[in-house]
């Protein structure tokens, strides 16, 4: 499901694309390969929490 408000432009892309965007925003000159799956996983988790925050409240 597409996110309502995107934190990351590459949220619907591959892990490599998403992790590269996160690394660029965090100011890393390059992201070691071994960090890619975990960084992408955590970026998607943060997006889910923002989606949750943006959901209708009662």
């Amino acid at each position: 499901m597409a996110a309502a408000i995107r934190i990351w432009d590459a949220i619907d892309g591959s892990d490599e694309e998403l992790a590269a965007e996160v690394a660029r925003l965090a100011g890393l000159p390059e992201l070691p390969d071994r960090c890619v799956p975990g960084v992408a996983l955590n970026a998607r988790l943060l997006q889910r929490h923002l989606d949750n925050l943006s959901a209708p409240q009662r």
Binding site: L25, L41, N42, L46, H49, L50, L53, A55, Q57, R58
Partner: protein, 450 residues
């Protein structure tokens, strides 16, 4: 060597030392012996501070011998999570990359206060790296195991602190709580613990995680011991009247519980005379706000080091911190807005009820090798979800005491939540529950671990 620790609490040890019935140096040696004999399988301790402990104990003895007041915690041995500055030692915050950092030039302020009260520091204690975790799995120092069942987690991130007290190595310990890092391990290890009113204890010399949520606090076996330690850290003494108006938190806080926890809460309600149950709105959003605030603030602390040497971090925390370091400020601002709404809501509830009661954790400590829990019908990793009931409460900066339910089986804990500034009255309420036999700390006395 007399077995002072574990069989005597902080109150009893201090009383015995103050009256000259036992020597502070003997108590310190007993604590050091317990660490040597018990720490192996539990893995709670990262550094043993024998020289310092014996010197502090000797100083307490000298005060007793001179007829001076040795302080309310005279000769009581304790340990600190490895993120409190201890003079002349590197503050590692559980990070291998800080193992050889420059030594701290002074003790953290809370340690200074405890030293003034006569307490004796014997050890530094294991934690999740930079306090970012709920299980105390550390790539450098290993996993801390639960003294009640070594196949299970002690909880985190202050897991070493909880396990050291529960295994009877020290009479109390300091930890820190951002999203549940005292309340969760206290619950899983059968102890009392407190996250105090936000900002009510000095954080000078405490390694930061998420500064708007971080608080230093203590673990102890009994509510009386916890109150004594808390009062020493505040330089406040004297009795406080216990809070009385109770309400149970329902809704979010009664879903996804294990049968053991669900049953224990029903039994507790009955024993308390069926207090009203109230529901807070938007708890899921509050938890998400806590998650995002933590990620943003935690990422900011480590952004510079992540840029230069990301592989020096524990993989379990590195990738979370990296994602947090890239969060834009507008996300943080949005989460802070949600925090303000939720805090106002819970403040309004605490204007109607003195104490709100909720579970600390879904149930007993998860197995290390099979750490899964059922959430809303799906199997989820326990590591990421142990904060389900503590994270939302953290947002409001309230004092929360974790209290161990008196029940058979593995330990289970509840959160006792009060309005800001009512810490001492809340501790008095926890002592009242303990007096009624509804809660009870559990120290593992046997040499044989489960």
């Amino acid at each position: 060597m007399t077995d002072y620790i574990g069989t005597m609490g902080a109150v009893e040890i201090a009383q015995a030392v103050r009256t000259g019935q036992v020597r502070a140096v003997d108590v310190a040696r007993a604590s050091l012996d317990r660490i040597c004999s018990r720490n192996g399988p539990v893995n709670a301790v990262t550094r043993i501070l024998e020289e310092r402990a014996l010197a502090e104990a000797a100083a307490v003895e000298a005060r007793v011998a001179a007829g001076e007041d040795p302080g309310p915690l005279a000769g009581v041995p304790y340990g600190v999570k490895d993120l409190f500055d201890v003079a002349a030692l590197p503050t590692t915050a559980g990070a291998a990359r800080l193992r050889d950092a420059s030594p701290a030039t002074a003790d953290a302020d809370v340690i200074v206060r405890l030293a003034r009260a006569g307490a004796v520091l014997v050890a530094t204690l294991n934690m999740d790296e930079f306090a970012y975790g709920f299980v105390t799995e550390n790539a450098c120092w290993g996993t801390t195991r639960n003294p009640h069942d070594l196949h299970r987690f002690a909880g985190g991130s202050s897991g070493g602190s909880a396990a050291a007290v529960a295994a009877g190595m020290v009479a109390f310990a300091l930890g820190s709580d951002t999203n549940g890092s005292i309340r969760i391990p206290a619950s899983l290890c059968g102890l009392h613990g407190i996250k105090p009113s936000h900002g009510s204890l000095p954080m000078v010399g405490v390694y930061p995680f998420a500064h708007t949520l971080d608080d230093a606090g203590a673990f102890a076996g009994s509510a009386a011991d916890l109150a004594l330690v808390d009062s020493a850290m505040r330089d406040e003494a004297g009795p406080a009247e216990p809070l009385t108006g109770i309400a149970m938190l329902g809704g979010w806080f009664r879903r996804n519980l294990s049968p053991e926890m669900a049953g224990a809460l029903v039994a507790l309600e009955e024993a308390l005379g069926h207090p009203p149950t109230i529901e807070l709105a938007d708890v899921a959003q509050a938890r998400s706000a806590a998650y995002l605030i933590t990620a943003y603030e935690g990422g900011a602390v480590h952004r510079s080091a992540l840029r230069t040497d990301p592989l020096s971090f524990d993989p379990a925390t590195r990738d979370r911190l990296l994602a947090g370091a890239a969060l834009p400020e507008w996300v943080y601002r949005k989460a802070l807005g949600q925090r303000a709404l939720f805090s106002a809501q819970i403040d309004a509830r605490l204007a109607q009820h003195d104490v709100l009661i909720a579970p600390c954790v879904f149930g007993p400590a998860p197995l290390i090798d099979d750490a899964w829990i059922e959430i809303d019908g799906t199997r989820q990793p326990a590591r990421a979800n142990l904060g389900l009931y503590t994270q939302p409460i953290s947002l409001a900066g309230l004092p929360v005491v974790a209290a161990p339910i008196a029940a058979a089986g593995l330990p289970l804990g509840i959160q006792l939540i009060a309005a800001r500034g009512r810490d001492r009255e809340l501790l008095a309420f926890a002592a009242e529950l303990e007096r009624q036999g509804l809660t009870a700390g559990r120290i593992v006395h046997s040499q044989e671990h489960a």
